[in-house]
């Protein structure tokens, strides 16, 4: 349904996305995860025919988004990040206009407008001016215009942003039900959202895909590892981190203000060795607790490792001095 190959986009000299490749099949909900500025919106804008790529190709529902742009656009519903609304129009007229732009007409069009407004729970506000709606309502009207022409592919840029918790749950339910018979690509930086909704996650950073897997197996990657937090009373965390890093069973340490975060393999429990090291240094062990590993950790690990390396380098320099 969505096929992206070697997609690259430059804004002047700035490379927003670099040789992106992925695919999505019918009935799949794909989560596009990444920090701000990673290239999510750029990719989505190319897929929806807003702008052409600098290199590479992308097709939607079998149509190339650049060569057969109109055919591709007929089959895509798009909810941009900032929902573009004609504020002086009523909800119903706005969705009706969007249906008209997608070539729908006649009484079928009016029925369909009612139907999608029902789906997003906005039917009782049909005659309200959009300018009078709350942010959550505007988001739902935006969703209605993305759905009105029954597209095969839905592209949603941060669909739950600005909604209250109850609305977030409703919109997620809606996306889940839509995803059963069509392809949904949604971007977000809410990790619980992708783990609840998506069958596959693409983590994108600085314009490149850094991981692609199901939420379960991404979490499973960390099953083999364990992390715990160590706090001692009479030594600076950086010194403790350095000492613990020398242990064979410890994979990685990271000094924070309060203490040290230790990553180790699960098969080879590092905790006894860590405790022994602390005792040998005559440090006062105040705390030793395990840390929950989550998608958040994977995300941070994949998207911020450069800064981590820099931090580690700075620490090493400090030690050398």
């Amino acid at each position: 349904m969505i096929l992206v190959e070697g997609l690259t986009k430059y804004y002047g000299d700035f490379r927003a996305i670099n040789s992106l490749s992925f695919h999505a099949d019918a009935g799949e909900i794909i989560g596009f995860l990444g920090p701000n500025g990673a290239g999510k919106t750029t990719t989505m804008r190319i897929l929806t025919g807003y702008m052409p790529p600098s290199a590479g190709s992308a097709s939607v529902a079998g149509f190339d988004v650049f060569e057969e742009s109109l055919e591709a656009r007929r089959r895509v519903g798009y909810l941009p990040e900032t929902v573009p609304l004609y504020k002086e129009m009523t909800v119903w007229r706005y969705v009706d206009y969007m249906a008209g732009l997608h070539g729908m007409r006649g009484s079928g069009r009016a029925d369909r407008v009612d139907e999608v407004l029902e789906m997003v729970d906005m039917i009782d506000r049909s005659d309200s001016l959009i300018t009078s709606l709350s942010k959550g309502m505007r988001q739902r009207v935006g969703l209605a215009q993305a759905l009105v022409h029954s597209p095969e592919v839905l592209i949603l840029d941060e669909p739950t942003i600005g909604l209250d918790p109850r609305q977030v749950r409703e919109v997620r339910e809606l996306i889940r039900s839509l995803g059963s018979d069509r392809t949904v690509l949604l971007s977000t930086h809410i990790l619980s959202e992708v783990s609840q909704l998506c069958s596959r996650i693409l983590i994108i950073n600085k314009g490149e895909i850094v991981a692609e897997d199901s939420p379960e197996s991404l979490a499973g990657r960390l099953e083999g590892a364990m992390r715990f937090f160590v706090r001692v009373g009479n030594a600076p965390p950086s010194e403790v981190a350095a000492a613990l890093n020398d242990l064979d069973s410890v994979a990685n340490t990271y000094a924070t203000e309060q203490g040290v975060e230790v990553t180790a393999s699960r098969e080879n429990d590092a905790r006894p060795a860590v405790a022994a090291t602390i005792v040998n240094h005559a440090w006062d062990l105040l705390e030793l607790r395990s840390l929950q590993m989550s998608l958040e950790d994977i995300f941070l690990e994949l998207t911020t490792d450069e800064e981590m390396f820099e931090k580690a380098a700075v620490e090493e320099e400090g030690e050398a001095a």
Binding site: P80, P84, Y97, Q145
Partner: protein, 251 residues
């Protein structure tokens, strides 16, 4: 559905949207009130002259003054049409809907032309009064109306073009008015330049000479003048489409 049928339907949808948007904002009513005020004023002058035996019953002086008013009214009507979409980001909807860039531009232009057509039709009672009170040259009046309608289409196309240049309405309005005044008066520059070719070109480019000298004052409908107005429409809308298209690249 054929490609042509699809295009026509898209144009109709965009036209209807743009046309109805005018009537939910107060601006068009202000402009319309001003238009009708001046139309009435010019007509009462013409009637005074006729009643005092200074002139024959005709719409020439009225339509001539109204044509000049279009220079200020047209950019005021079109200034919002493209710039506002860019400023509020709604062009993202149009760019990702299955519509072509030229259909967006032409649909908008037709919407604005629809509004000015209504403005022009609202002055039709005046020639009817002339017909009731005297025996005006109906051919001259019809040619005058055809001319002002074509002129309106041409200046609105230029207005759409200047609206696509900037995301600020006021900038679009000022540039539009500056361009139109220059085109209106460009034969006044003839005396400033030497060279027969340049002065011929300047005279031919002048907006008013293609209306005032033929259709308005002589009732002469020539293919050259119609071609001139249609040419301005096509050229302006083509350039506007290209400028709108660059928004896709500039992001």
């Amino acid at each position: 559905m054929s490609e042509v049928g699809r295009s026509l339907q898209t144009l109709w949808v965009i036209f209807k949207h743009e046309f109805s948007l005018f009537f939910i904002s107060p601006i068009v009513y202000f402009i319309g009130a001003g238009w009708l005020f001046f139309a009435g004023l010019f007509f009462s002058f013409a009637m005074n002259n006729y009643n005092s035996g200074l002139a024959v019953p005709s719409m020439t002086s009225v339509l001539g003054s109204m044509a000049f008013l279009l220079i200020f009214i047209a950019p005021a009507i079109t200034m919002r049409m493209v710039s506002e979409e860019i400023r509020t980001g709604t062009h993202e909807l149009l760019f990702t809907a299955p519509v072509r860039d030229w259909e967006i531009i032409v649909g908008k232009w037709l919407g604005s032309w629809g509004v000015l057509t209504i403005f022009i039709l609202l002055t039709v009672p005046y020639p009817l009064i002339l017909l009731w009170r005297g025996t005006p040259d109906t051919g001259l009046i019809l040619a005058g109306y055809l001319g002002i309608w074509l002129l309106a289409g041409a200046v609105l196309a230029i207005g759409i073009l200047t609206s696509s240049l900037s995301q600020y309405q006021l900038v679009a309005f000022m540039i539009g008015m500056a361009v139109l005044i220059t085109m209106w008066l460009s034969d006044a520059f003839v005396s400033l330049v030497s060279g027969a070719v340049i002065s011929d070109v300047l005279t031919e480019l002048t907006l008013q000479s293609h209306y005032h000298d033929t259709m308005l004052s002589r009732g002469l409908v020539s293919p050259l003048d119609i071609g001139y107005f249609v040419g301005i429409m096509v050229l302006s809308l083509f350039i506007a489409t290209q400028i709108l298209g660059t928004r896709r690249w500039r992001a």
